[in-house]
Subunit: 334 residues, 2 copies
Amino acid sequence: MKTRHAQNLLVAVLIGALALAATVAQADDPLPSWNDTAPKKAIVAFVERVTKEGSSDFVPPNERIATFDNDGTLWAEQPLYFQFLFAIDRVKALAPQHPEWKTKEPFASLLKGDTKTALTGGEHAFLEIVAATHSNLTTEEFDRIVKEWLATAKHAKTGRLYTEMVYQPMLELLAYLRANGFKTFIVSGGGVEFMRTFADKIYGIPPEQVVGSTGKLKFDLRDGTPVLVKLPEVQFIDDKDGKPVGIQMNIGHRPIAAFGNSDGDLQMLQWAAAGSGARFCLYVHHTDAEREWAYDRNSSIGRLDKGLDEAKAKGWTVVSMKDDWKTIFPTSKN
Amino acid sequence: MKTRHAQNLLVAVLIGALALAATVAQADDPLPSWNDTAPKKAIVAFVERVTKEGSSDFVPPNERIATFDNDGTLWAEQPLYFQFLFAIDRVKALAPQHPEWKTKEPFASLLKGDTKTALTGGEHAFLEIVAATHSNLTTEEFDRIVKEWLATAKHAKTGRLYTEMVYQPMLELLAYLRANGFKTFIVSGGGVEFMRTFADKIYGIPPEQVVGSTGKLKFDLRDGTPVLVKLPEVQFIDDKDGKPVGIQMNIGHRPIAAFGNSDGDLQMLQWAAAGSGARFCLYVHHTDAEREWAYDRNSSIGRLDKGLDEAKAKGWTVVSMKDDWKTIFPTSKN
């Protein structure tokens, strides 16, 4: 019993030492890729306010919900949303099985490498491409195909894998929030099953904390084995007005902090901002043509126009990628 | 510094002692309201198999997903689903504002206390009652109304609050699974916003882990303040084939354990059972006419017919409430 006691004591001391070491390491600088400009100061001040016990702004851990857009907020989105680049590659891969695509738009133009013409058909053309590439597959087949693509396809401008085009400062921000008891969610217009293939590994966000657009699914028994088949029909679009709706349906609390980069995120930020108590809203502003891209009010991808005005009017935090971030992408590619 | 050291040591020792105390308390008997019959043994054996590191059946904590039906599995559901009893009370409360209901079915019969006649209109009548009582409210208004009802309305047979008609053995099971690193979810045909009003407090299941049926929501700005308004339209029905779909949309992993009580849960159990590695499926069988209710193959509420056959064929665990549970409802009312 004496030995048992001594062992327990040793374990307890080690636990205490580890906890102390973790605190010290974190105190160093949780956001090393952020310059010491206003956005970093605002983030740290907010986190300290809501986590300080006894403070009037204290928020209990179960309500520390933070929601993040994905495209343009956690990873890049130019020249086209990466999921759409996946769809284009998938059209090319499937073309031998679809000889009719050679003469049928929008596929014919895509196969010639002319995305612009393919997309003159607007939303209808877009949905047709998504339906042709994202359906009539089981959820497990789709998962495998996306993972294979992400493991090999490279971005034309940077030569990086797409999962290497995540923003290092945002990875640090996610980790910093979680270290302070926040539960981090993705709330994005992207397809939920596309994002889940990498969100856990790259962002540390598990599948059940990814909210996105969904297609209809059909439960089926194939030779007695149940499968879920992706149908070519939209179930829910998690963009603009849809973001607060997606948050309510899937999360059921109002976030106290919300992060976006476009007008598609405006309603999510409004919804977060309008709750009671301390709130934090942040827009990532793409201002760095050299290290990333510079675009806002006139971009067809990730347009930030009304949101930029509202952020200024309401005193939300706006990150200038050029001025506020030391690095954009992770230094070591994965 | 010496005092600081001593303090750290003391804190560390206390943490160690608490951890030890918790382990001992749990080792005592995590499921005291379960008789020592086959179901309890099967539950404990499964949990030990998947949590034993180095074992071929070991499942890492992030994949220890357990899904529970609510009506009839975690709380009672007779003589009618409790959410429908809420709707009936709500029709009565709203009747003064709807003089036309005096002569309009299904409302006229409901107001006379004749639920049976009201429901002869079938699914159409049911949806009309739900729409009239669950929509044209903001999500916050609805939350408040349900909480008021749950705090005061009593069950006609037991005289208990509805939240006191949860099953004590299932509360213990939820806690036991969580103590072993499981993440517990509700996956139920009930309305997600109805269930969230009490799931955290009663079951320890937070809003983001409640999956249910949903109505459409509309984001609106009222005098500049964003609200979500419940519309009288169905978005998703989380029952039967819909349960694996709801699991995939909202959770994104396949559960390794699933718990239900009716044919409406069969596809969820099939979906859980068909994954690779150790799996656990359990049906609660309502066999206790004295302490609760006895019903299965011929009940219109919570019918268990095909599910009972499949459970027997596949060796799933079937709990007989009469034989396997020492107590049904919590002894001390809340």
